[in-house]
Symmetry: C2
Subunit: 388 residues, 2 copies
């Protein structure tokens, strides 16, 4: 086998740095070993903190079927692991990679001290058991990150020094790429956690504010999940190209749509009798109170438009601005349908809950009057399928 | 100059992948060129989307003083840029790197078509103007990411093919590392934005809830900033090893400490006369109502303990659990001092605001009784320095 060092190394490095999945990376390397370098089998053990050992992550080539992935684990105090953790191969043979044939000669020879020899013979035993011709350790700084095990060469020749150096260099790049991938995964995980924290805190605070209004228990959550269902259906039906941020904004907006009710006095919100015109007007202030609370948060701009306009009507008879048809942002039109459906089908201070079938019929009749036709169609389809 | 290819490339790659700052990375490479490869000067132009061009990011060596960094920008439609964007060097000379001497011969020679020759002569003119002997382009996929300019070799010899290949390979690794660094920066930026969104939304909702209590305008924000000041001072004074998460949790906890007041009826919160025992007990429920609102959010566990215990007293006479001394979590003890200071120095339904000096004195006298001694000391120090 002849290797074009620079080219292989370069191409591999080029690919590796953008693979942010350590498992995929290791599979790439093992496949390369077997297919390009002509080695009978290649397997890779990666350090795993939880298991306190080294877990088999990939096994390619002739041994493939025999080894169950992710189940085989070499303990961190195993002879083989300790040998490489202590850089013994480098100490005895002057290189990190260990060759079975060299190790066997050294065990038979007289050069080594008995204690070293004994340790090495245990390593030889293990390598023979695993049918491994070469072990290539993989360090990040001084920590043993993983071990690459290689079988025989398919042309039955010996491994050259050049090849061993190449595998070592390659494996060192792999170690770096694995750490890089782990750092990426961690950042992505933190980003996801932070998003969850934001959403959960928003839900908790919105629910607390909602709790002031005796009659709307669970309303916010229901409006939010119905809104998301409608948006996802519209994505399919009307081939709306929502980006991730639209759905995120709709989620937040639907959670916060009634936040402005915190500015409406409790005795009006919970009044059992019918409301005076003045009281009704106080309640109608809640979208703009909500806008006032959230408007300083630039990232919520689109979400705030849902809060502001969720009481507009398609025919222009709504509030606060009397917008009409396409003037009303889609995010608001979706919340309007979900909000109205949930309000009509729940108990209210002035009436008890209505039958679901009735409510759905009425929403159908108000399509193009109170509600956006596109949104209503998606909603009605979901109702027919029993998803709402 | 002789280069140990593999070693240089390997060491550089090893370092580069963990440098998540593109500017630092470019400086590393330029320094290496000048110091290790014996080149009179090296400069690097990096693509900049906003400026629609290539911005000088580093300049090392003999030209160092002449070129103002971050001000020199080569337009994206400049002759030199277009030449490399169209892979002309590769097309004419069979390699990406362009050598001034080769380019000059080619302009004089007969091999090239007039149009190509004219284009190349403009490039030669530019390189001579900039005193550049070698241009090494830097691609990510097919996009021209940057250009490395090298001056003469300090030993006055010509650049060998081997050296040019090495620079090209190295520069290609740099391109990868720069993209990697950019991706990291972007993820970190998104994480920061998400955190800001979480904090700002929490502030907005906490302020909305606080607005129900006529007498506490701005209270939450003041308690939060005083709490952070105290914690930062304790970090220095008591050599407390707060990790980033403690300060984050304190921030959130101080913003949410009174959130439970949303569960206390408005007429009690805003009562002008003195409170009955029953009414007082209703107000005393607010820490546990706050806990009820937030307890399902696992990530807020430490923050919630601040909400729960911010009315405990060091002598055990507080509520809701009557914890004593060190039993009270530090996060709560800090909020207690900040909260009491702000409450005593603001107007309340049952009395007007007190003088700041009086309040500070009283807090000093209550050290070890109502307040944690360590927290009180930090607070008093800040007051003496006029920081509170």
């Amino acid at each position: 086998m002849t290797i074009d060092y620079k080219k292989e190394l370069e191409n591999t490095a080029r690919n590796m740095i953008f693979v942010h999945d350590p498992d995929l990376l290791i599979r790439m390397i093992a496949r390369m070993m077997v297919e390009k370098a002509g080695i009978s089998h290649a397997s890779f053990f990666l350090h795993n903190r939880q298991k306190q050992g080294y877990l088999l992550k990939v096994s390619r080539g002739s041994l493939h079927k025999r080894i169950p992935l992710d189940l085989v684990c070499i303990d961190k105090d195993d002879v083989l692991i300790r040998f490489f953790r202590d850089h013994q191969s480098n100490f005895i043979f002057g290189r990190e990679a260990l060759l079975l044939s060299e190790a066997k000669s050294a065990v038979k020879g007289r050069r080594l001290k008995p204690a070293v020899k004994q340790r090495l013979s245990q390593v030889v035993y293990q390598m023979e058991l695993l049918e491994v011709e070469v072990c290539v350790p993989n360090y990040f700084r001084d920590e043993l990150l993983g071990l690459l095990f290689l079988g025989k060469k398919t042309n039955s020749r010996k491994f050259s020094d050049e090849e061993l150096d190449f595998f070592t260099a390659l494996n060192s790049s792999v170690a770096m790429a694995i750490r890089n991938a782990q750092l990426f995964k961690q950042l992505e995980y933190e980003l996801d956690r932070k998003h969850q924290l934001f959403i959960r805190t928003t839900i908790a605070l919105a629910a607390a504010i909602e709790a002031k209004d005796n009659y709307t228990h669970g309303h916010t959550n229901r409006v939010s999940s119905i809104s998301m269902e409608i948006a996802n259906r519209m994505k399919v039906r009307a081939k709306k190209n929502f980006d991730g941020s639209f759905l995120e904004n709709l989620h937040v907006s639907s959670l916060l749509h009634d936040i402005g009710k915190i500015g409406v006095p409790e005795h009006i919100l919970n009044k059992r009798g019918s409301l005076t015109v003045g009281e009704r007007n106080r309640i109608k202030e809640h979208p703009m109170i909500g806008v006032g609370i959230l408007k300083s948060i630039k990232e919520l701009e689109e979400a705030v438009s849902g809060v502001r306009y969720h009481h507009e009507r398609f025919d222009g008879q709504g509030y606060p601005e009397g917008l009409k048809g396409e003037q009303i942002p889609l995010i608001a039109s979706i919340i309007t349908v979900a909000d109205s459906f949930d309000a009509m089908s729940s108990d209210r201070p002035y009436r008890t809950a209505r039958e679901k079938g009735d409510v759905v019929n009425e929403i159908g009749q108000l399509k193009g009057k109170q509600f956006s036709p596109l949104v209503t169609d998606a909603f009605l389809e979901l109702c027919r399928e029993g998803r709402i």
